[in-house]
């Protein structure tokens, strides 16, 4: 246990020294600043025009949920970038650079080494995603006076999502070179998002094949389902015309997550951990 914590501390220091960390922080600050300006402008605009009055649409809800949905998408994307870059070369990449061998020959064991690396990456990504999501929620609330129906669940979904991406990338790092692993995980991330959009189209047009594809993809890549579940939680108390229009928007069409999704996400994480442990134990360095 102490060996894993030592590695986690070492990996944590390494994480914060990587250039990608600075790049992501700069991008995040830029995003939040633009988000604040955009949100302020959007709410000012709807207050002036009251466009939805005739349709009995709650303009603040529509604007707030759409903007926060956009913020959630961006947060998940930036969190994914961070998770991938912190883990993409953790095993094979580090072994090829000669960084890994001096650590592996120590008595702590390979499992502890993996656990340490994962703890550090997951901790950094989880803290990052939680902070950005909380900032975006507060900006939305302060700028427009709109707060999500359930502000906690979407944040937890995003946190769990990036933790899964970090675990997936760590597993991939055992088999693939750093570049190949980064590409593979980003492709998986993209495939998940594409499947989510297909599901949205399938729901709107009532096409079973598209809905089935989205459903299967959600189980195979649960970070997408967690994100969808989070979007759904934003407006879970909204009904009527507002709910219909939100569903038609780019961040609508979301599916409810539910406890089964969370149980599956935890099981998925454990499966990734078991696969990584087994693969790393058998890998020649």
């Amino acid at each position: 246990m102490s060996g894993a914590l030592t590695i986690a501390g070492y990996a944590l220091r390494e994480s914060t020294r990587r250039r990608v960390f600075v790049v992501v922080l700069i991008l995040t600050v830029a995003f939040l600043a633009l988000y604040a300006v955009g949100t302020e402008a959007a709410f000012d605009s709807i207050n002036a025009e009251a466009a939805g009055a005739a349709l009995d649409v709650e303009d603040e809800v529509l604007t707030g949920s759409t903007l926060l949905g956009l913020a959630m998408f961006t947060t998940l994307f930036l969190g994914c970038v961070l998770a991938v870059f912190l883990t993409l070369g953790a095993v094979r990449g580090d072994a090829e650079r000669g960084v890994l061998q001096p650590l592996v020959v120590r008595p702590l064991g390979r499992t502890a080494l993996l656990a340490g690396r994962f703890t550090a990456a997951a901790g950094v990504c989880a803290a990052y995603v939680a902070a950005v999501y909380a900032s975006a929620t507060i900006i939305t609330g302060v700028a427009g006076g709109w707060w999500p129906a359930d502000p906690v669940s979407p944040g937890l979904g995003l946190v769990m999502g990036v933790i899964l991406i970090a675990a997936l990338s760590l597993l991939g790092s055992i088999f693939l070179s750093a570049t190949a692993n980064g590409i593979a995980v980003f492709m998986a991330f993209g495939a998940g998002l594409a499947a989510g959009l297909l599901g949205q189209i399938g729901d709107a047009l009532d096409v079973d094949t598209l809905k089935n594809v989205a459903s299967v993809a959600s189980w195979v890549l649960p970070f997408e389902a967690l994100y969808q579940g989070g979007l759904d939680s934003l407006t879970e108390d909204v009904g009527g015309a507002t709910a219909v229009i939100v569903q038609l928007g780019p961040f609508g069409g979301a599916q409810e997550g539910g406890p089964v999704l969370w149980l599956w996400s935890v099981a998925y994480l454990l499966l990734l951990a078991a696969a990584a442990r087994l693969a790393f134990a058998r890998r020649d360095l």
Binding site: G3, T6, V99, P102, V104, V105, R106, P107, D284, L285
Partner: protein, 279 residues
């Protein structure tokens, strides 16, 4: 007391490639054994199996009586890889501190100071790895390998990046370790280094040990050469013990003797012969 390292019929295959084909080797406590061989001979694979970095395909390997690769075995070794890198942002002292924690060493600052002193890096305690020359990093790597007072030290090409002064530091260090009873398995291409410090040498070619013995045993007698008025005369079958007799006969025959040289093949000659014969 069990051998510091022992392997029997050790083999390793990477797909169709045979890296080790039934190697037997033993390193006793306090013994310095050199592994020689061309690139791809299996030297690094052998060391990596001993460290637990590579799983053998067959045979067995033990470190201090424990199965190689087990936590108990890894607790008794120090290892310097041929290609290694420490994070550039760590200071020399921090590198050693990290490895102390991983090795469970309670040596603290005193041990770190001693190790840096031992590899002539006492002044570089606060220097970041990124600011060190390749030679300094190599010596820091050796200090790292010595954290926790290992019983068996495995060094893979430890002097490859060092200048003559650095090599001298490592050579003296190896002799000091030997004096302290630490067993050393040394992989090197530098035959002169191996010849100077090793008690025994094993020459590995194509995954098999083709010659082994002390450097003196491997460097065979090569005859006697005598300098006369008429030039050099060679006695290829003669040994050192026959020199007085040869000189006496030459003088009795009216020759004037200006010098005598006992010839022996060097470890390099033996190595080259072994490699050529095996290939």
């Amino acid at each position: 007391m069990s051998a510091a390292f022992e392997c029997r019929e050790l083999s390793k295959r990477y797909g169709a490639t045979v890296a080790l084909a039934g190697v037997d080797l033993e390193v006793q406590p306090g013994e310095l054994v050199g592994l020689l061989g061309p690139n791809g001979a299996g030297k690094s694979t052998l060391v990596k199996i001993a460290c637990g970095l590579v799983r053998p395909s067959g045979g067995e390997a033990q470190v201090a009586g424990q199965q190689a690769g087990s936590a108990a075995a890894r607790a008794t070794i120090g290892y310097l890889a041929e290609l290694f890198r420490f994070p550039e942002w760590l200071r020399a002292d921090e590198v050693l501190s990290l490895h102390q924690r991983l090795a469970g060493s309670s040596g603290g600052a005193a041990e770190r100071g001693d190790l840096l002193e031992l590899v002539a890096l006492a002044d570089a305690e606060r220097t970041r790895v990124g600011a060190m020359s390749k030679g300094m990093q190599q010596r820091l790597g050796i200090a790292q390998a010595l954290v926790g007072t290992p019983r068996l030290l495995m060094l893979d090409e430890p002097t490859s990046a060092l200048d003559p002064v650095g090599r001298r530091v490592v050579r003296d260090l190896l002799l000091e370790l030997k004096r302290r009873g630490v067993a050393v398995l040394l992989n090197s291409h530098l035959l002169s280094e191996v010849e100077r410090v090793c008690d025994r040498v094993a020459i590995l070619v194509g995954g098999e040990i083709v010659a082994r013995g002390s450097p003196a045993e491997l460097a065979r007698a090569g005859g006697v050469e005598v300098e006369l008025d008429s030039g050099l005369r060679a006695f290829p079958e003669a040994s050192r013990e026959q020199v007085p007799e040869i000189v006496a006969e030459l003088v009795a025959a009216g020759e004037r003797v200006y010098g005598v040289r006992v010839l022996s093949s060097t470890l390099e000659d033996t190595y080259l012969e072994a490699v050529e014969a095996a290939s």
